[in-house]
Symmetry: C2
């Protein structure tokens, strides 16, 4: 199996892009990644997207994006794994280049959400849950996460305000990220007073949706030479699933799929949690940050919020997370999010994260979560 | 890159399965493939499906099927490439096993269509075309194919009845296939009198939709030993795209993506068209059979129908096609079709095709077409 590296990255701001269609956004990210890599073509295109069929009445998205980005005739498919579609597309690109079937591949994550009504979005996002045994009862996606958070607080004795540092940190980091959807500082009072969505999840526990696209261009590492820019190797790439319905899990407070995929990625990369310099985790809801930290070995079971309360998750802490604003403030264009995480990790490892730079960042980890913890993909990137 | 082989196959009949849900059908095919391979688990699951979001309000299909088939925690994603989603899933499984990232993978194609109204299906299938520049004008998928067929007849001087042998052959072969949707013989008069859908495409030019699932289990060839059953190696696997909209093609009568993917597959397998013993092509509409034969080098440009008129496409002809009934009569559960083609090819190569057996079948080819020729995937299977 060949080692692979990321040669090019590209992204659009996460925003309400009223003037750009789904294909425009995706093509923009693809072309930026090609430009960054100084390439004009690739052998394969993997499009991460969840909602284009439901919201834009457009499937066959691989073909469409290849065509629109000037890559006509290039092999292309869409990869869907709910909110982890982006990282799933990256993983397929990694596998394809590692296999030798192709010598270069672009993974682009794209989502176009603001043209649809809020109720349509809520219904479309609910397709990530079990249609027959969860959604049929009227539960929405935020409600499923609220059930988990409520149980977590009950089991481990945390209060709602103990989760505030996750959101405050994310918003603070987004302030200096020009690609972020929400560039506004928040404090504990804002957090406490925010409107309730589904108890105990309020507006500042939840990430905003948005339009956006991000892309990475992957090549065999052996073809690269250091010429001014470090080589960013994908040292770990792993995925795992769990039951799609939360009620089928023995322990709904443990992200088994996060644990499995993280352990596989650690093993592939030959590292341990203590070696990770920063972690782009999937803070779709603040409870997910706590659960992800625990399942990946950064905190003891039930102790995820402690890391945040102790200030360890900031840019100068022991384990900086959501360094460019995370889903909470950079925004969560669902099928694109997993690629944004990896693009941001590359910026950190290249030393190009500006005011958000994590000092001496050499090993970065990303984790993209689909469904309510049901499809989780972990990547570890190493600067060489 | 490791060579890969198909160790297990499974499928459900293509039918109106009112008593089985999407997940039931997929799990049935997966379990049959596991049973056939005498395995209890796999490392990865690739689900080929086009319409689950639109018709069943269910995404996150990889997770759902892994969960329902008893493969909880297994890595799983959905692959979408319109009507070539099935072969696209097989190709991802091939790449994953070839790469060494996983040591076994199942590709399952599944579609559940009969619960939706006909108009919903027509709208859902149209998402394979360009939503903004084709579908916005009111054109349906059959209408796009009718435009191609009409132009083809005009350019090359064929009459409608010259396409009859494609449908007659497919229906004849389906008679002895218990998994086929339409087990009824048709003749030239039936073909000529069939109801018109979109001129010149009538009901007997078009394939029926349906519910169904098919699965293949793929492993490294090096792990297999001949013990009674031949080894079925995947010697060629290639994909290519074209413009999503027909009006963007220089020559709408030439399937460039079929040509590219077939040439790549021939090259990988070290074979030529004359070496192919049978060809499971994508006869969604009879015009597509003609175009596929031409683009893959089996007929001269504009001469696809000649092969059929000369009787060369029957089970005893020079190039048997749609040996188990093809899309036309086995049925076309869109995201599953590409996997059915490969399962049927394995049956032929194992010598288990019963009354439909192609004598001395050693090299089989399959081609799955997504959109109006916009996403095409070719596989070549060799018996060893």
């Amino acid at each position: 199996m060949r080692e692979v590296a990321i040669l090019g990255i590209g992204m659009t701001p996460v925003d309400e892009h009223w003037d750009k269609s789904l294909r425009d956004l995706a093509a923009e990210a693809v072309l930026l990644a090609l430009q960054d890599a100084q390439r004009e073509s690739v052998d394969a295109l993997y499009v991460g997207n969840m909602l284009s069929g439901l919201i834009s009445q457009q499937e066959n998205l691989g073909t469409l994006i290849a065509d629109w980005a000037g890559l006509r005739h290039t092999e292309a498919v869409k990869i869907e794994a709910a909110c982890s579609s982006g990282a799933a597309a990256v993983r397929q690109a990694v596998i394809a280049v590692a296999s030798g079937f192709v010598d270069s591949a672009i993974a682009v994550g794209v989502e176009k959400m603001t043209e649809a009504k809020g109720t349509e979005i809520t219904a479309a996002l609910a397709t990530a849950a079990d249609a027959d045994y969860e959604v049929a009862h009227g539960v929405s996606f935020v409600a499923l996460n609220a059930l988990i958070m409520q149980r977590y607080m009950y089991e481990y004795g945390w209060q709602h305000n103990h989760f505030a540092p996750f959101s405050i940190n994310a918003h603070h980091n987004a302030l200096s990220n020009p690609y972020a959807r929400l560039q506004e500082e928040i404090d504990e009072q804002d957090y406490a007073k925010a409107k309730m969505i589904a108890y105990p999840i309020n507006l500042l526990d939840a990430s905003p949706t948005g339009d956006g696209a991000a892309a990475v261009l992957i090549v065999p590492k052996e073809t690269l030479h250091k010429n001014g820019r470090p080589i960013i190797r994908i040292a770990g790439s792993a995925a795992a699933t769990d039951s799609i319905a939360i009620h089928d899990r023995k322990d709904p407070l443990w992200l088994k799929a996060a644990e499995i995929s993280a352990q596989k990625a650690y093993s592939q990369a030959g590292v341990e949690p203590k070696d990770i310099d920063f972690f782009e985790l999937h803070d779709a809801f603040s409870i997910m940050s706590a659960l992800s930290l625990e399942a990946c070995g950064f905190a003891e079971r039930g102790n995820g919020p402690r890391l945040a309360l102790d200030g360890q998750i900031t840019l100068t802490g022991k384990l900086p997370i959501t360094t460019m604003g995370g889903l909470k403030a950079r925004g969560h264009p669902v099928g694109a999010t997993g690629v944004y995480q990896i693009v941001e990790a590359v910026l950190q490892l290249r030393g190009m994260a500006g005011e958000n730079q994590v000092a001496d960042a050499k090993i970065g980890m990303t984790q993209n979560i689909g469904g309510s913890g049901s499809n989780i993909i972990t990547h570890i990137l190493v600067k060489e």
